[in-house]
Each structure stands twice: as C-alpha cells, then as structure tokens.
Amino acid sequence: MTMEADTDLVVSAPAATVSEAVRTPWTEFWRKFRKQKVALIAGAFVALLVLIAIAAPWIVPYDAENFFDYDRLNAPPSLRHWFGVDALGRDIFSRILMGARISLAAGFVSVAAGALIGTLLGLVAGYYEGWWDRTIMRICDVLFAFPGILLAIGIVAILGGGMTNVVVAVAVFSVPTFARLVRGNTLALKHLTFIEAARSIGASDWTIIARHIFPGTISAVVVYFSLRIGTSIITAASLSFLGMGAQPPTPEWGAMLDAARSDMLTAPHEAIFPALAIFFTVLAFNLLGDGLRDALDPKIERR
C-alpha cells in the first residue's frame, strides 16, 4: 500500500540510475510492486487460493455434497472435521474448499467477460467518438442507472436463478465500468504525437488501436480487474444468499451462509467459516488491487 512507498523510494532512487540500464515497463512495475509487502502477501494468498480452487476435488477430506456424517449433525470443529459439520452432516471444511472453486471461477469469469467487452467498447467509443461514442456511452449511462446488484437481480429474474446466470449478470454490470475507464484513457492517448506518427505512416485504425492505444490502457484495466473481482465475488455470494444464485446442495459460500441462518444460535461455526472465507478472499483481491494501483499509477510517486 501507499504507506510503505515513501520511505523505500528514497532509498532506491539513486541506485536506480546506475544499475538498471534497461527499464522495461515490467521491471519498473516489479521494482515498485515488490516493495509493497502487504500486496505481495495478498498476491501470494490469491495464488494459494487459485491452487486450492484447482486442486479442490482431489484434496477435500470428504465429498462436499454427498458425504453425510449423521452422528455429528451440527458438530463444532474437531480434528475429524476441521471446520465442523453442518445441519445435514456435511463436512464444512470440504465445502469451503469446493466453494473456493465456485467463487473464484464466478469472480474471474464474470470480470474477465466484463473487462473484455467493456475494453473493446471503450476503445471503439474513445477512438471513433461521434455516433459510436454517443451510443455506447448512452447504453453505459442506462446500465449505470440501475444501482449495482439491482441490475443483477433483474437479469436473474429474466434468465432464472443459478450460478451461470449470476456470472452473466455480474459480467453485464462490469461492462460499463471498464468501458468508461478505457474510453477516458483512449481519449487522452489518441491525440498524442506517437499516434499521429503511426497514422501518418499509414497504419490502419485497428493497428493503431491494438498496438498503440490498447497497451496504454492495460495498467488501468489490470488495477480495476483485481478490485472488481473482489466486488464480483461479494455480489455473486449476495445473490446466492438471496436464493437467486447457486442452489443447494452446491457448496457456494453465500448459499452456505443463508443455510446457516437458522442454526446461528446453536451452531455459529456454520456461518463463521463461509463468512471468513469470503472475507479473506475478497480482502486479498482488494489489497492486491491497491498494490497494483500504487505500482502502476505514475501519480503515486510524488506523494
């Protein structure tokens, strides 16, 4: 985070001029990013989560959906069941691990789709302006006119419940964010001299957009990407909590919390573990996003 940046920058600034002869954007990024301990830890945690999500089916101690320990209904955490047992006798630890797969996939796929479409629209709107710009931005305005989760609920109401539709819904509301962001960057970049130079040697519009403008927008997109994944995971979990997303017996974290509501008094562990799972996952993505922003935003350096 920014807090670390100040003191460290002073130390490294003189050395940089001598030793680092070649400064690609990558080395520059890495030089700043690796100083942010919090973001590094968050990044490592995200990597661990991804590994868990991929390996979940092979590392879970019990089957997350079809194993029922009838002798230990609502049992608190123990050596046999690390996170305890839920009301139907299922192992909560196994369900949390499998849930990581669902939440990460939902967060990643929805934001990736939203970022892809949004970036394309933003590039087109910013580069061509005129009619394209007005139409695309008007659509974004309309999408923005629906407060966050409401749009997702509307889409789920049309398409029906289930995780796939939740992913579609979350993707749709990520589109305008990325479109606006990229459009702004494109507008700022397109009047610069190197774009003019590219055009004067006869580069086509698409070459200019893909080779010269798009790279200039990447850093902003990457930062938003990480921050958006956190938001999307919460939104997807919220929809499942409302009963519109993942349906039982799917071990989705939000759905698990909803199911735990009736047993809050006697078995709070059924709510605590999925809540913590969502919290740490989203926290990691947010801290990673903060770190990426501090490393990629040139404005930060002067602070």
Partner: protein, 306 residues
C-alpha cells in the same frame, strides 16, 4: 444556476425513457407467456385470452409501451399477481422503512467515513492512518449480509441489547443501518483520504501553513472545501450502492421494506412488482445523482453553467 438545474433535468429525460423501455421490455424477455403467468398455472385457454385482453397484451408493442408509460406517470403499476393488491399500494406500505434505513445509513457512514479519511490523510503513514485504512479495506471486503449476521448474533442474541427483526422503533434501525453503512463508510474513508492527501500537497496549503495558520485551520478551512468536491460525487454513487445493499440487508433483518418485497417478487415471479421496483430504484438513483450534480456546482464555484 436555475438554468443549469433545468438543463440537467432535461438531460436526464432520455436516460429515464430508455430505463423505462428496458423495464417494459423486461416482461417480454421473461420466459413464458406473461398472460399465462398472470392468469395462473391452471387457467383455461379462454381465461388466459381474457387476461391477455384485460392487460392489453394483445396490442402491438409500441401501443403497450405508451400505455405502460402513462400508467407510470399516473403512479399506476397494475396489480400484484401475488397479493392482488395494486402495486402502488404495496410499494407505498414498504417505502418508508427502506427510505429511513438508507438515509440513516448514509448519514452515519458519510460522517464516520469522512472523519476516518481526514484523520488518515493528516496522519499519513502513521498509526492512525494504518488503523483507519486497515478498517476501511476490511469494510469493503466483508460482505454486508455476513456482517449483519455477526452484529445480530452479538448485540441481539448474546447481549440482548437490541431487537433482532422488524422496524418498529428507533432501536430497530441501529443494526441494519450499521450493516448497510459499513461498506459505504469504508469507501468514503478511502476516497476522502486520497482526496485530502492530494489537496494537502497543493501550494496554497503550504502558503496557508507558511503564514502561520494552525493545522486545524488549514485542514478544516482550506483543505476541506476543496477535498470535498470529489467526495460529494462519490457520495451520490454510494447511494446507489446503498439502495442495492438494502436488498440484502433487509433479508438478514427481515425488514419490511422494498428490498424484501423485490426478493419475494422475484421468487414468486410477480413481474408487475419487479417492474415497478426496478423502475423506482433506478429513478431514485438517477434523481440522487442529479441532486449531487447540483450540489457539486454549489460547492465548486469554478464550474460555470452554460
């Protein structure tokens, strides 16, 4: 100024119209026949036809849209399929609890959020900043529904200080508004901090300090007014977040508000209610952003109205 407000108001009209069109088309995007949906599962084909005529679903789409619009203008959203009561009446009953819930959440979260943000900016990179920003990043990472469950468990169930569900007295408002406002307070804190950090680095702040003003004066009088400009814009956006968040929080606290009405309506496929609520929520959001735009003009005199 007045001219500016009128101009912004007119600028909102096309967006409103498109939103209304979306909401109108929504019914036709639903899988299945809306007339059959309205008539019920075991209605005879004749009844379905009658209902279709009655709801005007046999007319061409543009004509239906005009009818829908004139209904909306007259505050007539049709009849709820579930309760058979007018949708406007259903909404009227539920409006105030949600309204007050969002207002209270907004009030405390803006005050607390901005206070944390200002303190963090003033004590940048020192412990108050670290504590404040740790709280803030935790706030945006903890899902509202989980936070609400935790609060309810501690203060209502374990300690017994506050009621669990319902919206009868002011005590009922404490936990839901805390739950709903937490994320907004966190976002406001982060945003206020970065806005203040920018401002406190400006030359005129150095001038103010150089002429011997005490720090409180510098921060409150010189910093505040300029740092607040982007913060006010952020506030408007957050209101949308609150409106959306209320849907989730109302389920946790079994709140008799619009959010729960919407969730129930989606469950029961009560499309008349869904339509009206989606329209109402968006309308509210658009109006609030309009108000924010006007406020923005008032606190930022460098904006000239054409």
């Amino acid at each position: 100024m007045l001219q500016y407000i009128v101009k912004r108001l007119l600028g909102v009209l096309p967006t409103l119209l498109i939103v209304a069109l979306f909401v109108f088309l929504f019914v036709h995007l639903l899988p299945g026949d809306p007339a059959r949906l309205a008539a019920g599962v075991d209605a005879t084909p004749e009844t379905v036809e009658l209902v279709r005529k009655d709801l005007g679903l046999d007319k061409p789409l543009p004509q239906q849209f005009v009818r829908f619009l004139s209904g909306v203008i007259h505050w007539d959203f049709g009849t709820s399929l579930r309760t058979k009561r007018p949708v406007a009446q259903e909404i009227g009953d539920r409006f105030m609890p949600t309204f007050w819930l969002t207002v209270w959440s907004m009030v405390w979260s803006v005050i607390i959020g901005m206070a944390i943000g200002i303190v963090s900016a003033v004590f940048r990179n020192r412990s108050p900043d670290r504590i404040g920003m740790t709280l803030a990043v935790s706030g945006i990472s903890f899902p509202a529904f989980a936070f609400g469950m935790v609060l309810m468990q501690i203060f209502s169930v374990q300690l017994g200080w506050l009621p669990t569900v319902g919206a009868d007295t002011w005590k009922h408002y404490i936990l839901p508004s805390l739950t709903l406002g937490a994320a907004v307070a966190a976002i406001m804190a982060r945003f206020t901090r970065s806005s203040f950090v920018d401002i406190l680095g400006e030359d005129y702040i150095r001038t103010a300090r150089a002429k011997g003003l005490d720090e409180t004066h510098v921060v409150i009088k010189h910093g505040m007014r300029n740092a607040l400009i982007p913060v006010v814009t952020m506030m408007g956006l957050q209101f949308g977040f609150l409106l959306g968040g209320s849907i989730v929080v109302e389920k946790v606290f079994n709140w008799p508000g619009l959010g729960r009405l919407l969730v129930d309506a989606v469950d029961m496929r009560d499309y008349k209610v869904i339509q009206a609520l989606v329209l109402l929520f968006s309308l509210e959001f658009i109006l609030i952003n309009l108000i924010v735009d006007v406020l923005y003009g008032i606190i930022n005199p460098t904006i000239r109205y054409r």
